[in-house]
Amino acid sequence: MQPSLLTIRDLTVRIGTHEIVSIDELDLAPGRRLGLVGESGSGKTMTAMSIVGLQPREATVTGSIVFDGRELVGLTDRQFADVRGADMGVVFQDPLRALNPTMRVGKQIGEAVRLTGDLSRAEVKARVHDLMAQVQLPEPERLARRYPHQLSGGQRQRVLIAMAIASRPRLLVADEPTTALDVTVQKGILELIDEVSTENDMSVIFVSHSLGVVRKISDDVAVLYGGRLVEMGPGAAIVDRPRHRYTEALIEANPDHADPEQAEAVIGQPLTTIPGAVPALGNFPSGCRFRDRCPHHLDECADEPPVTRQSDQHRYACWNPATAAVGTGGGSGGERDGAAR
């Protein structure tokens, strides 16, 4: 097994008395791509943000996040800022809001470049143009002088990507990078993230609500519910042969989202919800957090579910898992149809 770039153990993120995220174990190998999937409120964005130290200031992070051999939990503001500047890049959900409205985009990219090390003015400028070319922004000379509101949504997201890869980071975190964009430009942005991360040999954490997109772009998929990691494994295994009842329900409720062929058509759409509502913060049941919405729940589900290792990579936490043989589109039993709607 190759050494991890990122090793997370017993990570919790709290705001006040509420526990937003609680993840026992999550690893990311160098060069691999991990998709974080879940409904809104599942804690996927909070998980990703706590890894790069950008959780809200009122949140407290405990546990262990080891990145490239260095413990991140407990770092000072300054130390974490240096780690981000050197080795991490982040692409945010809403590119218009993520850019400073009163600063030319060239200058904003230049800021990211300058924070990677001591460079002369000319070197910074050259690197900015180089980055803009990499993210396929035309006429860098002219575009760099524009303000964010003068660019299109897709161009803005490309600017953000240019900033994220300025330091050639080892880890790129993309938080729903296409959600706020027009359907027509979403595909291009996804391809660009795919391309730049491959070229620069980056690990990627891709936060998304779309199973199809995640399966297409990621090697591994982690499914979150109520701030807990319910199932984790290779993308194909998760989408085609889910074991956790939540993953199963999520896929069945959203067959289009799970289909990679249709991924591009539906990335802009929200997930169809599973029957029952996600409980409010702090109102999750004991034991398995999904149990009161789960048609397959057993008495044991009131106890904390055990982590089962299906294989080296594939694990899930469920008392009454779906049978391993079941696949999408396969001749599954009537029970599944009954459970789906």
């Binding site: 503001d77 945010f92 809001r97 509101h149």
Partner: protein
């Protein structure tokens, strides 16, 4: 940008025109009979008629207005009948002092307000931020003329550090000017700084929740670094609008402060004209003071455009 300047210049000219008409009409309606004031109640009607004819007050309002405005451009606004000075020359001679007071205290208050407000916002979770806010709140309640009196009493009279009044023009001695203006400027700036500090604090607290602060952190800045590099400018933009709302109060404060420190500016001139009931002088002075406010307003509008590219674009789009 050029469009913005052109548009704001047009607004400035239109406001100045409106202001001059308002002042003129008000003085005609309320100013009383100038001839009676000059010659006294015991004067003969013939003498008053003769004086009115001499002053041009027997002509129609439009004619009088036109000759007033014309005089403004020619540099001839007539003479003070009580003190005998040439009104235009006197205004020109005193303008520098009043402008210095207004401009410097505005600049100083804006600067201090941005610094203190930012500090207060960045420490909003601990005692320091709250302390700055309380001090600012207190500062707003302190009237300039009272601070002026206290400064005269303690700094000027008891400690003897700075003069308690009088003015040495910039052209004579820069140090002298600064020494004579220091206390008046402090008096004028306290309340204004309080207003700006509180505004920047709340504006900065809004800005700190913006996504681009997080983006700057993602590039490798600390929270504080991101807040200062990206927050201050964005928080300061609405401050410009707040600044324009304070201009009237600032000029009013200047008028009062000139009396406190016996400074020979437009405010003292206005006070003696009001006391002497010299309607002709008051009319021109009131208009000049309004003009100063309008010009400062114009400058702040331009600063707003320079700070926020979205405004400049909106101007362009509106015209296109």
């Amino acid at each position: 940008m050029i469009r913005l300047v052109v548009r704001k210049t047009a607004v400035l000219l239109a406001s100045a025109l409106a202001g001059s008409i308002v002042v003129f009409v008000l003085m005609r309606l309320l100013g009383g009979d100038v001839a009676t004031v000059i010659l006294g109640q015991g004067s003969t009607p013939e003498a008053r008629d003769a004086l009115r004819a001499e002053l041009g007050l027997d002509r129609s309002w439009p004619e009088q207005y036109a000759s007033w405005i014309g005089g403004l451009f020619r540099g001839d606004l007539g003479q003070s009948y009580a003190a005998g000075y040439d009104i235009f020359d006197e205004i020109v001679a005193r303008l520098g002092l009043t402008l210095s007071l207004a401009l410097i205290s505005l600049a100083v208050s804006l600067l201090l307000g941005v610094i203190a407000g930012t500090y207060s916002a960045l420490h909003s979770r601990d005692v320091r931020g709250g302390f700055v806010d309380v001090v600012a709140q207190l500062g707003i309640a302190i009237p300039p003329f009272w601070v002026g009196l206290l400064l005269i009493s303690f700094v000027a009279v008891q400690l003897g550090w700075l003069p308690s009044g009088g003015y040495i023009p910039w052209s004579e001695s820069v140090v002298g000017a600064l020494r004579t203006l220091a206390l008046p400027l402090v008096a004028l700036s306290i309340a204004l700084t309080g207003v700006f500090t509180r505004f920047v604090r709340s504006s900065m607290l809004d800005v700190l929740g913006e996504d681009y602060i997080r983006t700057a952190m993602a590039k490798g800045r600390t929270w504080r670094g991101a807040a200062i590099r990206h927050g201050v400018r964005n928080a300061a933009i609405p401050l410009v609008t707040v600044g324009t709302l304070q201009l009237g109060g600032l000029l009013a404060g200047t008028v009062v402060i000139e009396s406190v420190f016996t400074l020979p500016g437009l405010g003292r001139m206005l006070m003696s004209a009001v006391t002497g009931r010299e309607a002709i002088v008051v009319q021109s002075l009131a208009f000049v003071i309004i003009l100063v406010i309008l010009v400062l307003n114009f400058l702040l509008d331009i600063a707003y455009g320079l700070l926020d590219p979205r405004i400049t674009d909106a101007e362009g789009a509106a015209r296109a």
